[in-house]
Symmetry: C2
Subunit: 341 residues, 2 copies
């Protein structure tokens, strides 16, 4: 992109904007009979399946910071956040609708970068961008994303199905997204203090955590595994708020208490290194960080080995219980931290 | 509402906010197997039907002004705007998802007013609030609304189906919503100039137009008529941007020109009175006003009388043509105004 290339959106018009980016719609899905271009999209649900729908809103300055977030990364991340909610029902995403409210400071070229990221993510998750809306905004970019997914009713996994003595499991590793954010915020601060255009942030040593913050991937691989095995988690949620907050959702809606054995919580070496460098507690990253988009689920204990046969990238981190009504963290040093549900 | 009653949302927490307002969900629809409370809602589509989906974003200061918009009216209007898109496909709305980004200046009680308006509209349109999200915002209230609707495939009416010599029709009357906005803006200005808390806006003489601006109704009655008659419009759109802009959408997507006979455009006496008082051209209100949420449609000429037998509240205002590729306004005084498509 030529940096002198700044076409104002008002010179083009909002309806031409949609027309201009009509090829950035990811994968063409045959179930979608009408995509962008009418009052609503039209979708043919598979017979007997349930349609999952979820919607979220993202604001500049609250949910993203464009000083360190390339717009194509932002586009990708918004789609990840959306589809992750559908995978967290053990459903499969089919389409998304994206609405943008765009202030004058954004050019047509910048919005194109955003759509390129959306398109790339839609292609990766094999879904179609089927609708949405573009409109003006005064100060900040505001984006809403709605995702629709599909699955047979019997596949659906809710938050409320955990049983007494089910083990608590999590895919991947936790805390890396917040570690990436800490690095980006530090570099932003240094950049602002230097007041120089020459400043080049040193991100390379932190590539793993920065990528996890900027372009996280939803766990579609876990959804694929579940569709091939006869192991079915009793409850499932995606980690967006952080382990403590999201496990509380499972515990509360299942009417149970939960205990996490903190030494078992998977944390990447790169994440530990960032916490050390920042002189911060890496467990806090893992417990409160959020935005990891890993899957948190509960399982009958005998099913753990069965799942391991098909899928290795998960850890057992604790157990549900009907003997207390709170969330406990067992630190492994004879110390238990307690949280109200 | 006691005006001293200002509970900060951060004292309650966003997840408790959703819990608090869980009864404001309109009508319980049996097709919805999972409403608010999990990662996504779950919906059972009728066999053979198509699911219509549409999403929009609304920002304080751009799409609404809370200085003269009571929050329960705003809630109602957002639902109207959403369902109108589904009626404009000749589909029937079933559920909406509402996401809110809320700044600190809004109290729990204010957000309750908003949900009361959403609930009232959902009850009127017989739909269920099935999901959404609440989050923080810095300055402005931002709201996204997604609507899902259903209909047999053969009922769907798109924008692109108009034929040469089809007549152009519109329900109700046009320009009243912008007339109401002009009054509200004048009263706001006077209120700001007076700098007095005693100022009482005089809205009573303008009740008709102010209501059309603040709490517009979607034309669900027209959708009901279409389901009972064998008249089927060849194209259909709802009037949100204004007659000229929305008719252009039909003309462009149908590959035709269009002519409006301007004396035939229905305008309420109350709307004319406001334009006279403002020394403005009432035709401009009707042509460019927007937000009327009336239905604009095209029909084979012989079907006009047939539709009139079941439904009287519409006017024939022009004709489609394949003889030119533009939009023409015939003023009835031997003068034609032309617009590029």
């Amino acid at each position: 992109m030529d940096t002198n290339d700044f076409q104002q959106i008002k010179d083009l018009g909002f309806s031409s904007l949609i027309e201009k980016f009509k090829n950035y719609t990811g994968e063409k899905r045959e179930e979608i009979e009408q995509g962008i271009g009418d009052d609503a999209s039209l979708y043919k649900e598979k017979e007997g399946n349930l349609t999952a729908a979820s919607s979220e809103i993202f604001l500049e300055g609250i949910h993203f910071d464009v000083t360190y977030t390339p717009l194509h990364h932002l586009g990708y991340k918004l789609v990840t956040a959306a589809v992750s909610d559908v995978y967290a029902m053990n459903s499969k995403p089919v389409q998304i609708l994206v609405s943008l409210a765009i202030p004058n400071k954004y050019s047509v070229q910048m919005i194109e970068q955003l759509y390129k990221g959306i398109d790339r993510a839609c292609t990766d998750y094999q879904i179609q961008l089927s609708g949405g809306d573009t409109t003006a905004s005064h100060q900040i970019l505001a984006i809403s994303v709605t995702v629709l997914g599909t699955s047979p009713k019997e596949n659906i996994i809710l938050r409320n199905g955990a049983h007494h003595e089910d083990v608590i499991c999590v895919t991947g590793d936790l805390g890396s997204a917040i570690a990436g954010l800490r690095i980006l915020m530090r570099e932003k601060k240094e950049w602002q203090q230097q007041e120089s255009e020459q400043f080049q942030p040193e991100l390379e040593p932190y590539e793993f955590v920065v990528q996890r913050q900027l372009v996280p991937k939803a766990r579609n691989d876990f959804a694929d595994v579940l569709s091939k095995t006869d192991v079915k988690p009793s409850s499932l949620i995606d980690l967006t708020q952080g382990l403590i907050a999201d496990l509380k959702e499972i515990a509360k809606s299942s009417g149970l208490g939960a205990e996490i054995y903190s030494p078992a919580v998977p944390i990447a070496l790169e994440t530990r290194n960032v916490a050390d460098e920042m002189k911060e507690d890496v467990d806090k990253y893992a417990f409160y960080g959020g935005e990891d988009y890993e899957m948190l689920f509960t399982l009958r204990e005998p099913q753990v080995e069965k799942l391991k046969a098909d899928f290795e990238d998960f850890s057992v981190i604790g157990k549900m219980s009907n003997e207390y009504n709170e969330l406990r963290i067992n630190t492994g040093e004879d110390r238990t931290i307690q949280f109200d549900l």
